[in-house]
């Protein structure tokens, strides 16, 4: 038997998804090995051979999502690097944009990633381009050699180079790389004109310095992993998930490691996209509710919404990323009462330890999960597939003591209140995320993920005016299954500052052709000759500093302008006939490798549904209780109902019905 393997390493679990040649899909969770994450990958390999009879030599694709890049930053374990800048600008990295995040804090902390290269690691070279890319001062090679010598004396492993206006002409940066590599062939180099060829020197310096900072770490990690895979007998090249939701080979990933920051979440978004598409939905909002946070992402026309300016640890990282917004609300969020007697939920979380009061591990604070137990949404005897027995009396006690008695209400009323407040917070966050991107959530389906998502989906959909909810078969391992469903994708961009009024379509076509050639080379290295090609331009009104990405369907100014006006009207609600300009051009090549959507399995249809008293906002009701695997294919489940499965609990409010649909998903629809 041959097959493909996807491995996603998260903080707690390493998820493994395997698609065998016969179409069957296997899923497993292994504990993450935090010291050396690659050990869990190799453990997955052994398990695949043992449990699924898939020998390493029969693996036809090996795809990996990793947090190694992110962790290197969060734990400040990147390499010691040097930064080379244009004379006069060595402090740009430390000064940044001078804004502070916490407006009312009196004692301030640095807002810029100075840790990447403190002053002694930043050197200037003599050179200067003007705003049109013309050379004002030629590159003084002696100043380069001096800077490099000073940096190597400090034992740096990598050097980032960011010169002013290098996105208009990379010659000086490239020459600096040559000079470094002639003398220090093992020193790694990141050029800003390669990493992020776009204007605004602070943001470009940041992303380039981050690239250099994690390059040695990622290179070591991938070398170690590839060696392990080869030793185990895997013959296919390793593929990595990039932040934008596409795959690239490990050999390309180590050249541009800054593209790996959202490797994990990108898998989840692609998995959500695949699950939605299998169920017949192209426009969905994914809401991943875990213990401490809730991640929101949008999928439009069966493609994840991307942003070209992302963040890592609060610092700007200007590479394309899936547009995931995290808020601090989850099942472990703690409920409390403020000084004026208002009920608050979060942002503090009980986490996994001690966890909610009902876990009985010493947690005394009432959480959202405790409220779910009090309301009867969660069966204490059947939590996490029966692997953990909850103590409902502790949930009652905590809510009674902290919330109900001080507010003069019953424990049930307080528990409903906790859910309502949490749901209002999450609904407003979803609304802000979607409307901020010019999207009306009412035209979208909701796709709940994580252990907590399906519990809140109906309430969120009701608040947002959403009519359909898609619950995938295994909301808990969607990141790993997304790895197998993702396309191989490469993207190349260039600055192309050109007012539409003076656009020369031939020059535009030439620029795109040059970008396509670079992309072709990258795709050929992955063994792909045929790819879907899409061209984009970043366009803004002249004088406006933020641009919109417009898909290019023709190279004449009128078509581009019309597309820009339409995009502006969609995102901002208005457009005017003021003149516009192109800022950047971008080409994206991608090739899909097949879908991982599972076949609808024949349900065993054993056992009739039970019933249980639950409490919802309108009062106590009798809910039908189903085990997900035993819902017969053509049965329509009507709310109020609860559908239980090992990794989550689905709460169906009155007015909603559920039925099995394509891809083994459940489709919930609102009829009220």
């Amino acid at each position: 038997m041959r097959g493909e393997i996807g491995v996603d390493i998260g903080g707690t679990f390493t998820d493994v998804v395997c698609r065998l040649d016969d179409g069957t899909v296997r899923i497993a969770k292994l504990p993450t090995t935090s010291g050396d994450p690659s050990r869990a990958v190799l453990a997955a390999l052994q398990m695949a051979e043992r449990e699924w009879h898939l020998a390493p030599a029969d693996i036809t694709r090996f795809v990996h999502g990793t947090t190694v890049a992110t962790n290197a930053v969060l734990e400040r374990k990147g390499a010691r690097i040097g930064l080379i800048t244009t004379e006069g600008f060595r402090d740009v990295l430390e000064i940044g944009r001078q804004m502070r995040h916490q407006m009312y804090d009196l004692v301030l902390q640095p807002e810029t990633p100075v840790f990447l290269a403190p002053g002694r690691f930043r050197k200037e070279v003599t050179e200067r381009l003007d705003a049109h890319g013309n050379t004002l001062t030629a590159l003084d090679e002696a100043s380069v050699l001096r800077a490099v010598a000073e940096l190597t004396a400090l034992d740096v492993r990598a050097i980032a180079v960011c010169l002013l206006f290098s996105f208009l002409d990379p010659t000086h940066e490239r020459r600096i790389r040559e000079l470094i590599q002639q003398r220090h062939p093992t020193l790694m180099v990141s050029l800003s004109s390669d990493v992020d060829p776009a204007f605004r020197e602070y943001e470009r310096t940041c992303v380039t310095a981050f690239d250099a900072y994690i390059k040695p770490v990622v290179a070591d990690y991938l070398a170690n992993l590839e060696q392990g895979l080869a030793a185990a007998g895997v013959t296919v090249p390793l593929q990595m998930m990039q932040s934008r939701g596409g795959l690239m080979s490990a050999s390309v990933a180590r050249q541009r490691p800054v593209r790996l920051f959202l490797s994990g979440p990108a898998g989840g978004v692609v998995g959500g996209m695949e699950a939605a598409r299998a169920a017949g939905f192209e426009n969905v909002i994914t809401v991943d509710i875990g213990g401490t946070s809730c991640d929101i992402a949008l999928i439009t026309d069966a493609a994840p919404l991307l942003r070209n300016e992302g963040e890592i640890d609060g610092y700007p990282v200007r590479v394309p990323m899936v547009d995931v917004t995290a808020i601090g609300s989850g099942g472990g969020s703690i409920a409390w009462i403020d000084g004026a007697g208002s009920l608050k939920v979060g942002p503090l979380s009980a986490g996994a330890n001690p966890g909610p009061a009902c876990y009985g591990r010493g947690g005394a604070s009432p959480t959202v999960t405790d409220a779910s137990v009090v309301l009867g949404f969660i069966d204490p005897a059947n939590f996490a597939g029966g692997t953990m027995r909850l103590q409902p009396e502790r949930a009652f006690e905590a809510i009674d003591r902290v919330i109900a008695r001080p507010l003069g209400m019953t424990v049930e009323q307080a528990a409903i209140g906790i859910h309502r407040v949490l749901n209002a917070q999450m609904a407003e966050a979803i609304r802000l995320v979607s409307i901020g991107r010019g999207i009306d959530p009412r035209g979208y389906a909701l796709l709940p993920l994580g252990g907590g998502g399906p519990m809140h989906a109906c309430a969120l959909a009701d608040d947002l005016g959403i009519m359909s909810i898609v619950v995938p078969a295994h909301p808990g391992v969607l990141s790993a299954s997304g790895l197998l469903g993702a396309p191989v994708a490469h993207e190349v961009a260039t600055a192309f500052p050109c007012p539409l009024a003076t656009l020369d379509p031939t020059a535009l076509a030439d620029a795109l052709r040059a970008l396509d050639e670079q992309c072709h080379t990258l795709m050929r290295r992955e063994g792909i000759a045929d790819a879907e090609v899409a061209h984009f331009a970043d366009v803004c009104y002249i004088g406006q500093s933020y641009h919109l990405q417009v898909k290019l369907t023709a190279s004449d100014a009128a078509t581009i302008y019309a597309a820009f006006l339409a995009a502006h009207a969609q995102v901002y609600g208005h457009s005017t006939s003021a003149p516009a300009t192109i800022v950047n051009l971008r080409t994206v090549h991608q090739a899909f490798m097949g879908s991982v959507a599972t076949q609808a399995s024949a349900a065993p249809a054993t056992g009739a549904p039970g019933t249980r008293a639950i409490r919802i906002a309108s009062g106590p009701v009798q809910a039908t209780i189903w085990q997900r695997g035993s819902i017969p294919p053509d049965t329509i489940v009507a709310g109020p109902a609860i559908i239980e499965q090992a990794d989550t609990t689905i709460l169906m409010e009155p007015g909603w019905t559920a039925r099995r649909t394509a891809g083994d998903a459940l489709l919930l629809e609102r009829h009220a």
Partner: protein, 540 residues
Amino acid sequence: MTDPITIEVTRHKLEGIANEMQSTLLRSSFSPIVKEGLDASAGLFTADGQTLAQACAIPIHLATLIPVLQRIIHDFPPDRMHPEDTFLLNDPYAGGTHLPDIAIVQPIIVNGQVMAFSAAMTHHQDMGGMSAGSVPTNATEIYQEGLRLPPLKLRDAGVENATLVRIIRQNVRIPDTVMGDINAQVAACKIGARRVTELAGKFGHNALTAIFDELLTRSEVMTRQALQRIPAGTYRYVDYLDNDGIDLEQPIRIAVAVTVGGGRIHIDFTGTSDQVRGPLNCVPSGSLAAACFAIRALTDPAIPTNAGCFRPISLHLPDGSLVNPREPAPVNARTSTIKRIASSIVAALADVLPDRVPAPSAGEMLMLAFGGRHPDGGNFVTGDLVASGSGASATSDGVGVIETDATNCMNLPAEAMEMATPIRLHRVALRAGSGGNGRFRGGAGTIREYEVLVDNVTFTHRGERHYSAARGVFGGGDGARAESVIARADGTEQIIPSKIVTRLMRGDRVIVKTAGGAGYGDQAMRDPARTAADAADGVI
């Protein structure tokens, strides 16, 4: 009374609406000052003009829309308002702040009755007047500062006031940008009106109004509780602004006496300079914004921002003084004044809150404006907002080049400035040695060097801390004072006395050095490893 759960759910809705308005406002505006400076805010107000929820990117906007609402309600009786009316004003003496800030207000009418207002305020890139950018440091009357708009209807029952729009377009240097930003404000207000109307449909008009009252009361209660945790007493601080841009030898005194006790805070400005000839005067809403910032910073920032937070505040603003000027005193540079008032109120409490109040930050937000013609003939107006060093605290060094107190603006990237205007930057650097010394040292200021590439550029420089330093505490040193010069192409140098409006010619350079933050504690107690690292990194 409505149940506490519904109140909290509604609060999330109202804050969500304010955030959505703000998001629309920032994203759809044109001018760099909104995009990069975030100098705009949006909010919801009760039918009698009290703040319900405000999304505020910078503290200087706190409470500043309240006088606007009061004036609109006074001039246009709400019972005759139409749901598609839109009101506008920018006159500081009719509820505004300074002329570049235009306020837009829309009534939210349910069942034929005004139940709330949505409002947005934006700092526009230009409002006409004697200098590009409409913040002339040499103005002596408000008439020189730009187009002054009394409370007017921008839209009457949905029909745009074409006369008003033509007058605005005719009087500003960049009409497309200004009207684009006004349209963004209108769009933000429409969103607020639509969503509050939906909310009223769900909860009912009367129930929702009752919730509004309850939300204000709750923020008031919590603010009073937090104030009671500050030791009661009267605390004083005096600081100086450099000059008013006209009388260059005359420092401006800001004196505050902060009385805390009984859940109230009273700030008496007796002893503050009389109103000045130049534009540093500040109408009362500015002092209120400064006081609001100080209270939020000193109490609990988690308290929901609404008019309830402002109820424990009382101010004594002597008539005819810097903080309560008489018409037609110029006011365009009031930001510097508000910043210094905010930091002085906080500094007054340094002795009773030594762990929470750091040494003073320089608090200089240098404002530069350049205006002229491109070589191809088109006009350009651009600005830069340059920060200074923050003060050290009991446990940490100050931060170099960071925004503090009432403002929070981004600087302009060199590449953005050079691509848009005939100006070149030669240097963007930390100013070594400018932080005050101490056990913990102050943050450094910055050095920026600009060269203009065309003739006849109108240049405005509005600095602070050129003559009075941020003063160290508990034995810490003062931060370095700011210094700016114009290096003319002919080799002569001209020192900028904190404020100037002048003309630059091709090849002239402006070199600005902003001030450092103050130090905390005795230098002798400093960890030698910190001193060595500072030396290696070129910070000292």
